[in-house]
């Protein structure tokens, strides 16, 4: 992300640890079937997401927009067509029951937490730091790490190139012709020049890397030493504490009179 932002404590967490923790929370979120707990769990994730990424609130809200859409679409399909006994509303094939309403909202929240956790990771982790950490802590082989880093460098170049190719084709008159056939042709004509450039570029970079004595079998030193700090404890501590609190709160002071949403 190239948008301006403050670096704060979430950026300083060891990327491998962050990756593992968030993957664990992904799995954990799937195992939650208690609706009230899901609400409080979502809250505890969203506090970090909204207040701690260091990005301006305007951007955060913008990032959230597509995910609200995911929330609505996931929830709506389950709410409108799900099974249940206590009918709230029925019109044609639409059949909203109490059970399907809760289940839909539950699924929607789950999708939302997935999105927030994923973004939380992406917004606070630099790719280069992530791969250095993966090499140092999780013993990822350098050849994979460096190929990924080289590939990430290629993405902006490719986007720029795509725009240029589209312009170049416009000049040739690809888009000025009408009809389905020429539309198809114009879509078909983009990937070949783009891929042929990228493949050649990737090959050249690979040769250049080897010419600089990159060798996957050798030992290597690291420019960035990625270690652990007390922020890592804080990060894990936050989740342990907030999730326990979330659980206790949901059990003792339920918002809604349901427990398990599975039907």
């Amino acid at each position: 992300m190239n948008t301006a932002f403050k670096e704060n404590w979430l950026h300083k967490i060891n990327p491998s640890l962050k990756l593992l923790t968030i993957s664990f929370l992904f799995v954990f979120a799937i195992t939650i079937h208690h609706f009230n707990f899901m609400i409080t769990f979502t809250l505890s994730v969203s506090i970090l997401f909204i207040f701690c990424t260091g990005h301006p609130y305007k951007h955060i809200l913008l990032f959230l927009l597509p995910f609200l859409l995911i929330f609505l679409s996931t929830a709506a399909s389950m709410i409108l067509f799900g099974k249940g006994e206590t009918t709230l509303y029925k019109w044609g094939i639409l059949h909203i029951t109490e059970e399907s309403l809760y289940r839909g909202l539950h699924l929607g929240l789950r999708a939302l937490t997935f999105a927030m956790m994923g973004l939380l990771f992406a917004l606070t982790t630099k790719p280069v730091q992530l791969f250095y950490s993966l090499m140092q802590q999780l013993k990822l082989q350098p050849k994979y790490a460096y190929s990924f880093m080289a590939a990430i460098r290629l993405i902006p170049i490719m986007i720029e190139e795509l725009q240029t190719i589209r312009d170049a084709h416009k000049v040739r008159g690809v888009q000025t012709q009408k009809g389905m056939n020429s539309l198809l042709k114009s879509i078909k004509s983009l990937p070949i020049p783009l891929l042929s450039q990228s493949i050649r570029r990737a090959f050249r970079i690979a040769v250049a890397m080897e010419s600089k004595r990159f060798n996957s079998s050798n030992e290597r030193t690291f420019y960035y030493q990625v270690g652990f700090s007390h922020y890592d404890l804080l990060f894990i501590g936050y989740f342990i504490l907030s999730i326990s609190l979330a659980y206790l709160f949901a059990i003792n002071f339920p918002f809604f009179p349901v427990s398990d949403v599975r039907y």
Partner: protein, 489 residues
């Protein structure tokens, strides 16, 4: 005297080609020599230095056979394309990548990085600068810095300035001169004006990859000038010779076109990126657009082609231009990379694409016209080939040919001679010149001062998003030409 790198009876074959590239080539280099390899495109110069460095066959899988290849103990390789030799996003990380490979301890890295950047004259405020933000010349100097990190005895340079502007080229060669003491330097390059006094040995190859000559600069240029000319290698005075041989061909002006611009602005993301106060351009004019990297030259062409948002008055032959569709058959932009503009599977289809407008052509007139163009551009034998299979010079010619078949009134070109050898450059310029004499207005972005000097009739200078100067070159010469037009009309 001990040799530092050599090949003995080298044979090499590219998988897709019939013959051998080298037939028992034997060549050796002494320590500390500065050598320049010259030859026409495709003669194997680049391949040879890849063999000498061991990139072939260890990194690039091409079968070779030889009695002996001596690869230097430590070497570095600077490649042609500044955008595809880095694997990290930031300057410091890129050099650190090399240091990591050499297992330099982490504590020593920052100091070493600063030292290396100093050596190549890259003074950055912060070494953690994005590589993407550097100019081409700076990128190549960074490439030299990361090669120096290897502490090489031999440095191979494979056309390091082919894609770099004049200013960057000078910086690169100054850097090479500064760092070259005690090192062996082996250079492959077409543009040799700046390194003539630097190299002490020149080797010329024939088109089939055989040795033609081997000696010092003076010897080569006094004895092999004809061959250099024939092979399209730049030599001092190439432009003068070309102009002398191809002069005084005045063709009558067939059309009279006029482009009028007033308060013209081009926008990107709602910001003004280029502006031009007023200009009136007539047939017979060839405008060279100059300026530094990032000044807005290409943006100017995109605006004139209506590929980005523009405002102001823009008229061609008194017809107002507001969008791309208004420019059909009026203007055509040739992009820097010809491959971007290819959309069909054969050279012939490529040329006739605009004519048939998506329909099959049966019309004899079109066939004839297409065949004429193919002949003029020297592509007749290749008309059934896939455009991607052409050589670099042929691709460029094809992309210009597709422009000509539309008979545009205004022809826009973005660095059409970049990275081309002399033969292709002259051929292309000749074709554009004849188009100019037919009445097409030429606007060409170029870094090459020789084109400005020998071909352009008018120069626009772009600086920080504005056309700051507009001068007609050589008024007297133009008047003579205009007179010629008058008489012929």
């Amino acid at each position: 005297m001990a040799y530092i790198t050599s090949v003995n009876k080298l044979r090499l074959k590219f998988p897709d080609e019939k013959g051998l590239l080298f037939k028992d080539l034997t060549l050796s280099f002494k320590k500390g020599e500065k050598v320049l390899l010259l030859g026409p495109s495709g003669c194997g110069k680049s391949t040879l230095i890849q063999v000498l460095s061991g990139l072939i066959p260890y990194s690039i899988d091409i079968p070779i056979k030889s009695e002996n290849i001596q690869i230097p103990n430590s070497w570095g390789f600077v490649f042609q394309d500044p955008d595809s030799q880095f694997c990290m996003p930031f300057v410091d990380e890129e050099i650190a990548f090399v240091l990591e490979n050499l297992q330099v301890p982490r504590e020593e890295m920052p100091e070493r990085i600063n030292e290396l950047l100093d050596m190549v004259g890259l003074q950055l405020e912060d070494i953690h600068t994005s590589i993407q933000a550097l100019s081409g010349g700076m990128k190549q100097r960074l490439a030299i810095a990361s090669v120096l990190a290897l502490n090489p005895d031999v440095i191979f340079l494979d056309e390091p300035t082919a894609l770099i502007d004049e200013e960057g080229t000078e910086q690169i060669w100054n850097t090479v001169k500064n760092i070259s003491r005690d090192k062996t330097i082996i250079i492959v390059e077409h543009k040799i004006e700046q390194i003539i006094d630097f190299v002490d040995r020149v080797i010329i190859f024939t088109p089939d990859g055989e040795l033609l000559a081997d000696g010092n600069m003076t010897y080569i240029f006094s004895n092999y000038k004809e061959e250099l000319k024939k092979y399209g290698i730049w030599y001092p005075g190439a432009w003068e010779d070309f102009k002398r041989e191809n002069n005084q061909k005045t063709v009558s002006l067939r059309n009279d076109n006029e482009v009028h611009l007033k308060n013209f602005h081009g926008y990107r993301k709602k910001e003004v990126k280029i502006s031009l106060e007023e200009a009136l351009i007539h047939s017979g004019e060839w405008i060279a657009v100059n300026g530094q990297n990032g000044a807005g030259k290409s943006t100017l062409l995109l605006s004139l082609m209506q590929l980005i948002k523009t405002s102001g008055d823009y008229q061609i032959n008194e017809q107002s231009i507001k969008k791309l569709a208004d420019l059909q058959r009026k203007a055509y932009l040739v992009f820097q990379n010809p491959e971007y503009q290819f959309i069909t599977n054969s050279v012939f289809e490529e040329i006739t694409y605009e004519l048939k407008g998506g329909k099959e052509i049966n019309n004899e007139y079109f066939h004839k016209k297409a065949n004429d163009l193919l002949t003029i551009f020297g592509l007749h034998d290749k008309q059934h080939q896939h455009p991607y299979h052409l050589s670099l010079g042929e691709k460029r010619r094809l992309s210009v040919a597709t422009a000509f078949i539309q008979n545009p009134k205004l022809l826009l070109l973005d660095e059409p001679t970049f990275g081309q050898d002399a033969q292709n450059t002259f051929k292309l310029l000749e074709l554009i010149e004849s188009e100019r004499q037919k009445g097409t207005i030429i606007i060409m972005v170029t870094h090459d001062l020789n084109i400005v000097q020998h071909f352009a009739t008018r120069v626009w200078e772009v600086k920080e998003g504005r056309v700051i100067s507009d001068r007609k070159k050589n008024e007297t010469k133009k008047k003579v030409e205009e007179k010629a037009y008058e008489y012929s009309i």
